[in-house]
């Protein structure tokens, strides 16, 4: 083991920055995923495909259309909302009736995911797409001189955007009337209907929000990695599942915390553990495995009654 690394404060802070920005991505992705689970109790395995399409949407608007970053972000979030809406109408709503179990929804979303990924392959080809530097200057900032801590514009954007989205989603869910209705539907669809809430309408809104979050995550990942391909959802899909479990299924704050935990764990495993980059995938799931055995409802899990 390389002990000198531990004594290097710049390296430590650097890893904190990298780990937090990595974790922020996981968090944003997982928020949308866990929102749908919290409200409907279903695993939407097409969330990763939605995420990928949004990255392309942002790419088209910014790299091909030449529009500035805010337009790209908006386009990605809009695309995510639209795709999620289609998923709800075509893949989930037909199954939300008596007799169809939760697994059916999952299988349906797998089918939808296959279609979305294949369509993307057909539309965009297999070549990796990348943003031109005009979209976001790749040169990083240095804190404390050239040998100090480095932080790129993409990382700043991601940290800022994730904070905005997390706070925004929190406010939306906690403070707005619609947010409260979403929580009501999550708590009990029957009670919500008795209050005069159009449950299907609220579910549509939930999907729109979750899709927009997938969109934000998609465009942010695309900006950070500059690597847009139809298969880009595969990796984050598994991580997203792990994050959502870490935070407790359906728990939005938990997803954020889980995202940061996973991001930091991965980064620090690579940075400090011998052969860290080889084992980081296993470490993430090993930690998850152990946490679940000790706390079967996740770090912040509180059981179904208190969720969303």
């Amino acid at each position: 083991m390389d002990l000198s690394l531990f004594a290097n404060p710049v390296f430590l802070v650097q890893n904190l920055v990298d780990g937090l920005s990595r974790g922020a991505l996981y968090g944003v992705y997982a928020m949308g995923f866990t929102l749908i689970f919290g409200v409907l109790d279903i695993l939407n395995l097409a969330h990763a495909a939605t995420f990928m399409w949004c990255a392309f949407a942002g790419y088209l608007v910014m790299a091909v259309g030449g529009l500035p970053l805010p337009a790209g972000l908006a386009a990605a979030m809009l695309a995510g909302a639209l795709i999620a809406l289609l998923l709800e109408l075509l893949a989930f709503r037909p199954l939300r009736r008596e007799g169809a179990d939760k697994l059916s929804s999952m299988i349906s979303s797998i089918g939808a995911s296959l279609i979305l990924v294949s369509l993307a392959e057909a539309a965009f080809g297999a070549q990796t797409r990348r943003f031109p530097n005009s979209v976001l200057d790749p040169k990083p900032f240095y804190i404390g001189g050239f040998s100090g801590v480095r932080i790129s514009r993409a990382q700043i954007l991601i940290l800022a955007a994730s904070v905005v989205l997390m706070v925004g989603l929190g406010l939306f869910i906690r403070r707005t009337k619609m947010g409260k209705a979403i929580r009501a539907v999550a708590a009990s669809q029957k009670a919500a209907r008795l209050l005069g809430i159009d449950v299907n309408g609220v579910i549509v809104v939930t999907f729109l929000v979750a899709g927009a979050l997938a969109g934000a995550a998609g465009i942010l990942v695309a900006l950070l990695t500059n690597n847009i391909v139809p298969g880009m959802g595969n990796q984050i899909e598994l991580r997203g599942l792990a994050v959502v479990i870490l935070g407790g299924m359906g728990n939005i704050e938990g997803a954020v915390v889980g995202g940061f935990v996973l991001g930091l764990v991965e980064t620090f495993t690579i940075a400090y553990a011998p052969g860290g980059s080889d084992i980081k995938d296993a470490i993430a799931f090993l930690i998850l495995f152990i946490i679940l055995l000790v706390k079967p409802n996740g770090i912040m899990g509180r059981g179904k009654a208190d969720r969303a």
Partner: protein, 584 residues
């Protein structure tokens, strides 16, 4: 009948298409057979209500273990494959106990995590596994050592598995698993050790997945870690879900359909040269449509097979009505004594320091307004959950906190307020579940189709049938329990409890939903049971009934006992009247 006709056409179509493809391209048969075995592996867990995604991970272990043994130690496949399967079994036993405590999605993700750990381990052990592309496995050593199966060995394995699944589904184990799938709590109160069966199902799933993996290794001839990635786990689950988790042949059909479909699309859509994604798109669409229009899977299309009630009726040669006289008691003192029993849920006290005793042969009524704690009391006595404090003494021994299946096999049977039948099982099957702890033939015995099993099963069916006739349900024996009317379902619940041959019967609102005539008949029946030595605790709102049958009545209100005494006393008791009709 029409339903089963259509379903046979679907099944025949799937088989025909698969047969056609395999005749055209014999190596596709290997793929089909391996997928079918993997589907069975997923079925084994799903059928026991376990949402496990571990099959791909176990297949990986099986594949690599057998490949390594074959290549590095030069073992022939008839040694390497069983050894690999054994390795999977050991891993399953180790991780099963802790992991199976998790519910639904958590179990799914945890088992997914297991698969990832296996996959990463493969990559991290290049000297053993050849690393991520496994190149060393197939080239560093004799290639021929890997590639040594023939398709007929695979087919034989699948056939054997089909036989085992078929034999198991007809055995007491199959019945217990179906019961757990339908309703694990009710299964436990029928004396079924749910934990053991769930672990058994997980173990079986692991062994089968290991077998499939081992065959995969030898059929394909090379391995890499990508063979068992997340999407593979999802594919396997899709076979089983699309096929249906209700019957073992469902997943095989599911695997047949989902294996054939991409091949058909590949060949059928060839003219679209520049749109190579189209087959995948159509495949995804087909998966969605199939699950939307057949939410129960392919197996659900098939009519339930008869539970052979008519046969059982003919076999009821032994005279009697299926109700055994309760056994004589050896211990003196009260049969059941509840002492200072309390139970709270999240700070709310549902039961508060309740004490009473039941003497042998008594019928005790337990009444009180909604929310008085009556069902909570029955749940604690029958072991659904432990009391917060207090003692439950059963024939002198403390049983509080004991597992439900142990209490059930100890002689306490119950019915449920909100009916907890095994809804998709027939009436006869529901009742035969009650014989669980009295059928002694082991699973191996069932596989060997021992004569003793046949005898036991026949006796159980005959006895159950007699019980059904006695309760006036004779015509309904073959009906699916959930299709029965409310009152009939209540009767089935009572019959199922009686099938345990309990010494104490806990009846939770047995007459709810029955009309006056049915209620009166039920009263007579309870009295008859009393005659024959049964001890009964009955919760009821039908006061006619309670007044008629009870020796003594215990009244609960807000979790506390407010009165106890003979029916006349209680019905004049001011506190009771107030609790029921409200304060004047």
């Amino acid at each position: 009948m029409k339903k089963s006709y259509a379903s046979w056409i679907v099944a025949a179509l799937i088989v025909a298409v698969d047969a056609f493809l395999c005749v055209k391209n014999p190596q596709d048969l290997d793929r089909l057979l391996i997928n079918a075995i993997l589907a069975l592996s997923a079925f084994a867990t799903l059928h026991a209500r376990l949402l496990s995604l571990a099959s791909a991970g176990f297949a990986a272990i099986g594949a690599y273990a057998s490949a390594i043994l074959a290549i590095k130690l030069g073992l022939p496949i008839w040694l390497s494959i069983p050894a690999a399967v054994l390795a999977c079994g050991i891993v399953a036993l180790i991780i099963g106990l802790p992991v199976l405590k998790l519910n639904d999605v958590y179990l799914a993700i945890c088992t997914l995590g297991f698969g990832e750990i296996v996959r990463v381990s493969i990559i991290l052990l290049p000297s053993l596994t050849g690393g991520s592309t496994g190149a060393n496995l197939s080239t560093g050593f004799a290639y021929e050592a890997m590639k040594q199966t023939r398709t007929w060995e695979l087919a034989l394995a699948l056939l054997a598995l089909c036989y085992l699944f078929w034999a198991t589904s007809r055995s007491k184990t199959g019945r217990a698993l179906r019961a757990i799938r339908e309703n694990p709590d009710a299964a436990a109160t029928m004396g079924i050790n749910v934990v053991v069966y769930k672990n058994g199902a997980f173990l079986a799933s692991a062994l089968i997945a290991g077998l499939a993996g081992a065959f995969y290794a030898h059929s394909v001839g090379s391995l890499d870690a990508g063979d068992f990635k997340f999407s593979r786990a999802v594919d396997i689950l899709s076979y089983a879900v699309l096929g249906g988790s209700g019957a073992w042949f469902g997943p095989i059909l599911g695997a047949g359909l989902l294996t054939a479909l991409p091949i058909l699309l590949r060949d059928g859509l060839r003219f679209l040269k520049d749109f190579s994604q189209l087959p995948n798109i159509v495949n995804g669409l087909a998966l969605m449509l199939a699950i939307i229009f057949m939410p129960g899977g392919l197996a659900a299309l098939f009519a339930r097979r008869s539970s052979r009630a008519s046969e059982a009726r003919g076999e009821a040669s032994t005279p009697g009505d299926g109700i055994e006289d309760a056994e004589e008691e050896r211990v003196s003192g009260p049969m059941l004594a509840v002492e200072g029993l309390s139970r709270s849920f999240g700070g709310v006290a549902a039961l508060c320091d309740v004490s009473f005793a039941i003497e042998r042969g008594q019928v005790i009524g337990l009444i009180g307004p909604n929310g008085a704690g009556k069902t909570t009391l029955i749940n604690t006595v029958s072991g659904i959950f432990p009391p917060s404090s207090g003692k439950i003494k059963w024939e002198g021994r403390e049983i509080q906190g004991r597992a439900a299946h142990r209490i059930a096999s100890g002689g306490i049977a119950r019915s449920y307020q909100n009916i907890q039948l095994f809804g998709e099982m027939s009436v006869l099957e529901n009742i035969v579940v009650g014989h669980h702890s009295r059928i002694h033939t082991s699973l191996a015995g069932s596989w060997l189709r021992l004569r003793s099993e046949k005898r036991e099963e026949r006796a159980a069916r005959a006895e159950a049938m007699a019980l059904i006739e006695r309760l006036g349900l004779g015509d309904l024996a073959d009906q699916e329990a959930s299709k029965l009317s409310y009152g009939d379902q209540r009767r089935v619940e009572i019959a199922r409890a009686l099938a345990l041959r309990p010494r104490l019967l806990l009846l939770d609102e047995p007459a709810a939903g029955m009309n006056e005539i049915e209620t009166a008949a039920l009263g007579d029946f309870i009295l008859e049971l009393k005659e024959r030595g049964y001890t009964i605790l009955v919760v009821e709102h039908h006061m006619d009934l309670i007044m008629k049958i009870c020796d003594e009545i215990v009244v609960l209100n807000f979790g506390s006992k407010i009165a106890q005494g003979a029916p006349e006393e209680v019905s004049r008791n001011e506190a009771v009247l107030e609790a029921y009709l409200g304060r004047e």
